[in-house]
């Protein structure tokens, strides 16, 4: 049972089409597995629908109708493209963990070691190539160093469970943190943890070694 969901402030930005692509992607991965949040989003989409209905109509140019008919007549091609690109071949997910189809368009160089039992894979989303988007793979019992953020950090748990001193996050759970949160995720011994994470600003690790690792991996 999913306990942690994206807040309405994020969902309304998604509904409004104002959320940057990499953040929207993390929220979308959550939505793919959470019918309740899809329903919440639907309500906010309906606000968009209501805003369309409530406004004063703004007449189109006189030729608009004729041009629309022309486009309809010209459009013989199916709107869907034949095949979606496959996910990055270099990213092997641990056994039993499904590759989220939403990530299919991302490019990646694959897993990189960042510490004992810890690996990350930088994902590059074509429509938001500058965004710091990662898959994190943290072994059982391992922990990330204590850190805070300079901006928003969004996390979607794909497998495994971690505690970060504030709460417990299990598969399907979503977490949003910002500069007000200092936390240290510790993965439970029951299994490896894989998360999709968007990091808005740099992470600020406590301790010199941790800082060095953080600087090295570009987080």
């Amino acid at each position: 049972m999913t306990r942690h969901h994206p807040g309405d402030d994020l969902l309304i930005e998604l509904a409004a089409g104002r959320l940057r692509a990499a953040m929207a992607l993390v929220v979308d991965v959550h939505l793919d597995g959470c019918a309740a949040c899809r329903e919440r989003l639907h309500l906010l989409d309906a606000v968009g629908g209501a805003l369309i209905e409530e406004g004063h109509p703004d007449p189109l140019a006189p030729e608009a109708w004729a041009r629309t008919l022309e486009r309809i007549d010209a459009a013989a091609v199916p709107t869907r493209r034949a095949s979606a690109p496959r996910g990055p071949s270099r990213i092997r997910m641990p056994a039993g963990v499904a590759w989220p189809r939403r990530l299919d368009a991302c490019r990646s160089r694959g897993w990189t070691w960042m510490g004992p039992g810890m690996r990350f894979a930088r994902l590059e989303l074509p429509e938001d190539p500058q965004a710091r988007l990662f898959l994190l793979r943290i072994g059982p019992g391992r922990s990330l160093p204590l850190h805070t953020h300079e901006g928003t950090e969004l996390t979607q748990v794909l497998t495994g469970t971690f505690d970060d001193g504030r709460d417990t996050f299990a598969p399907g759970d979503f977490d949003a943190t910002d500069e007000t949160v200092m936390h240290q995720p510790v993965v439970r011994r029951t299994g490896e943890c894989v998360c999709l994470a968007y990091v808005g600003g740099r992470l600020r690790f406590q301790g010199r070694v941790a800082e060095l690792i953080g600087g090295w991996v570009g987080m």
């Binding site: 807040g7 309405d8 402030d9 969902l11 309304i12 930005e13 509904a15 409004a16 089409g17 104002r18 692509a21 979308d28 939505l31 019918a35 899809r38 329903e39 919440r40 989003l41 639907h42 309500l43 906010l44 989409d45 309906a46 606000v47 968009g48 629908g49 209501a50 805003l51 369309i52 209905e53 409530e54 406004g55 004063h56 109509p57 703004d58 007449p59 189109l60 140019a61 006189p62 608009a64 109708w65 004729a66 041009r67 629309t68 008919l69 486009r71 309809i72 007549d73 459009a75 013989a76 709107t79 869907r80 493209r81 979606a84 690109p85 299919d104 368009a105 074509p126 429509e127 938001d128």
Partner: protein, 222 residues
């Protein structure tokens, strides 16, 4: 309400149909136009999806195209682009009419998701970023819940109808927070400025407004 089985349309393969006269559509002013009911809108969608009915499409165009344009202009899109995107949204409505499910959403909401994604795609193209995920796949979140219980879907459509009434019943400052979220590019900053509150308070203000909206919608009789 049962699920309606639509036939896939094949715009290219259809026999030529008589053109619907343009003036009929272009010169209707808001004062003359009666607001169509939800049932009428759904009926027109069915006719477009089932038989490529251009008279029904003209009626949908007459109602929605000027409202889509107006919505886009209000949310900061320039006049020419708003016109272009409104037309493109109507082209999408024609092509994708068969995927519209009246048990799942109202036409206005379905169209809203189409126009939102068109705007996102436009901005990505403008910034030189190519979107190769396939066209408009976000819209499918509205029709992707085929596995959900039919009663839940019916409830969803009913609840959606309450959104307009709920928006009207919200305290003005909460309704404004919601509207600004949709109309402003940097909504959080705009809300902070407009309401004279710190940026940090904006998120909680939005959450309260949405919670209030949800409560109102759920409290309304279907």
């Amino acid at each position: 309400m049962g699920r309606v089985t639509h036939h896939r349309m094949h715009p290219a393969g259809q026999p030529a149909r008589p053109r619907v006269a343009a003036p009929h559509v272009a010169i209707v002013t808001p004062a003359q136009a009666r607001m169509p009911t939800t049932d009428e809108l759904n009926e027109w969608m069915r006719a477009v999806a089932g038989s490529g009915d251009r008279t029904a499409f003209a009626a949908l165009f007459r109602h929605f195209a000027p409202r889509l344009k107006s919505f886009l202009v209000r949310s900061g899109t320039g006049d020419a682009l708003a016109e272009e995107l409104a037309q493109e949204a109507m082209v999408q409505l024609w092509r994708r009419a068969a995927s519209f499910d009246p048990a799942r959403a109202q036409v206005s909401t379905w169209l809203y998701t189409i126009v939102r994604n068109l705007r996102i795609d436009h901005h990505r193209r403008r910034t030189g970023v190519v979107d190769d995920r396939g066209e408009l796949d976000e819209t499918d979140t509205l029709i992707a819940d085929a596995e959900a219980q039919p009663e839940a879907l019916l409830l969803a459509a009913q609840r959606e109808r309450g959104v307009r009434r709920a928006l009207a019943a919200l305290p003005p400052e909460q309704a404004e927070v919601l509207r600004l979220s949709f109309y402003e590019e940097h909504a959080h900053a705009a809300i902070a400025t407009n309401l004279g509150i710190p940026l940090g308070t904006v998120k909680s203000r939005i959450r309260r407004a949405v919670a209030q909206l949800r409560q109102l919608v759920e409290g309304l009789e279907p």
